[in-house]
């Protein structure tokens, strides 16, 4: 279907002054905002704005498994449903979930599972629903990050949070946190997630073209960015309880921890 404006992007992804098209330095993240408890009906929920990405995550569980044959007698299961709104992308997306969404759902489930104690919940399911309302590159990383926050908000025992970021290569340079344009026009894209309890990589995909040394640089640089995002996650999680504390004590909280 034709559109009046075409989806085009420039060849040069750096400006004259050496900054990226959105004004960032090579290793700079886009602005990130997170909030927990945004969906009152859910057992746990979180909302994230990461550049132009806007994503909701909600957790329900432990609850009965549908269809029943998926239930495991010795442990719980984690099911993740990553979906994009029709209007979240340039060309309207078809409403039914596509192959890409199903694959990303599975990747995120595999990424989050190591931090949960599923063996404590036999015969039940935790269901994580991720809804991308506005997409601008790096949605699987942003989704993983916000999903782990929603799990924590649900009060589900976890070994740690999970944080993800997309590294990449544009115009021959390694950069942190690819935007939508950079993702489409760049040479390589490397989404990566860390589980903080063992500080290991739990999600890793790679598409593109990179020297082996560049891959090393990506992995090293990712660590710095992940740490930065992790701090924002922790603040978002604490904020809810600080607000409750302030409400209860009438605004006089002496808390030097935050």
């Amino acid at each position: 279907m034709p559109l009046v404006i075409k989806d085009e992007y420039p060849e040069k992804l750096f400006r004259e002054d050496g900054k990226r098209l959105d004004g960032r330095d090579k290793y700079e993240l886009r602005p990130i905002k997170m909030e927990v408890g945004v969906i009152p009906n859910a057992d746990g929920s979180a909302y994230l704005e990461w550049g132009n990405n806007k994503i909701f995550a909600a957790v329900y569980g432990p609850r009965e498994v549908h269809p029943h044959h998926l239930a495991k007698p010795d442990r719980g299961i984690l099911r993740v449903f990553y979906r994009m709104a029709t209007f979240s992308v340039f060309d309207r997306k078809r409403p039914a979930p596509g192959r890409r969404e199903k694959e990303i759902s599975m990747i995120i489930a595999d990424c989050l599972e190591p931090v949960l104690f599923l063996e404590l919940y036999p015969g039940t399911a935790f269901e994580v629903f991720i809804e991308v309302m506005d997409a601008d590159g790096g949605t699987r990383c942003a989704s993983t990050t916000v999903a782990s926050l929603a799990l924590a908000d649900a009060g589900i025992p976890m070994k740690s949070l999970v944080t993800a970021v997309a590294m990449g290569k544009i115009n021959g340079e390694i950069v942190t946190d690819l935007s939508g344009i950079e993702d489409k026009a760049g040479e390589a894209d490397l989404p990566i997630a860390i589980t903080w309890f063992n500080e290991k990589i739990s999600l890793l995909q790679f598409d593109g073209d990179m020297e082996i040394e560049e891959l090393d640089e990506c992995l090293d640089r990712a660590r710095v960015a992940l740490k930065e995002i992790y701090e924002i996650q922790l603040q978002a999680l604490k904020k809810k309880y600080i607000e409750i504390q302030e409400e209860v004590s009438g605004g006089n909280v002496k808390n030097d921890e935050h």
Partner: protein, 274 residues
């Protein structure tokens, strides 16, 4: 987690009904009051118009996308607008995954009919070239939290989305579709503002804007879409029956309450400058 279940206990039901008999609601409202409205417009960067609307704890995010396609042969100079609703499983434990069910189709259709039968969308303005190219608008509603009365929230959400729209203006030159550099904005494609109002009925008592517990125990609902002085669509749902006098009373009430809401919400403030 909120107290959400398919079945409301008898004691809660009786409490609710006894309150209604004294013209009171369990959340402190009067019979003809809405819960609090919160509206934000143009919240989605990728969409050509959008709205984030909360009615109490019910929350719907709606976005608009467009395509250019061929018109229907019987109206060769008019664009098309379709409305869809998704009841996300994220929004309530009562919603299940899968293709749209009856409830979401009803929501989309009732909102659609309210808008379609009023002089709201100026479909002739959505024509690029007669017989060849018109705009096809997609207004897609996503329920983020379900706490009763999706229809009224969806109606306002769709309306604000259309008002906040900014669709690239196209023209045909040498048989090719080109962008004029300008945008069609909400004030150019929207005229009348139809508002859908939903009334619940329990044990013969009628009230506006059912909340979740009220909706779960009510016998039925009547949704009435109104413009400034006309009724444009009606939907009765649930097993309740309404007398002719009740319908006459409610259609007048809908016009009065609709006018008040239109004034209170001042929807034209959400138009965008492009």
């Amino acid at each position: 987690m909120m107290n959400i279940k398919r079945v409301i206990s008898t004691i809660e039901k009786n409490y609710l009904i006894n309150n209604l008999k004294r013209e009171k609601r369990i959340d402190g409202r009067g019979l003809w009051d809405y819960r609090e409205w919160k509206i934000k417009s143009d919240v989605i960067t990728s969409a050509e118009g959008s709205a984030d609307v909360s009615l109490g704890e019910t929350r719907i995010i709606t976005g608009l996308k467009y395509e250019v396609g061929e018109p229907f042969p019987d109206v060769p100079d008019e664009g098309v607008c379709t409305i869809m609703a998704e009841l996300l499983p994220l929004a309530s434990p009562l919603f299940e995954r899968g293709p749209p069910d009856e409830q979401s189709i009803e929501l989309a259709r009732v909102v659609d009919r309210g808008i379609r039968h009023a002089d709201c969308i100026q479909t002739k303005k959505l024509c690029i070239k007669e017989n060849e190219a018109v705009y096809i608008l997609f207004v897609d509603m996503y329920v983020i939290n379900y706490s009763g009365n999706l229809i009224d929230a969806g109606g306002i959400s769709s309306l604000v989305t259309l008002i906040s729209s900014h669709i690239p203006e196209g023209k045909f030159e040498d048989g090719e579709l080109q962008w004029t550099g300008r945008y069609l904005t909400g004030d150019m494609i929207v005229k009348e503002l139809p508002i859908v109002l939903t009334f619940g009925k329990i044990d013969g008592m009628i009230f506006l804007d059912p909340s979740l517990p009220e909706e779960l125990i009510c016998d039925g609902r009547l949704s009435i879409a109104v413009t400034e002085n006309k009724v444009t669509s009606i939907q009765k749902s649930g097993s309740a029956t309404f007398s002719v006098d009740e319908i006459k009373m409610l259609s007048r009430k809908a016009i009065d309450l609709g006018a008040k809401l239109r004034k209170d919400l001042d929807l034209w403030q959400y138009k965008t400058e492009y």
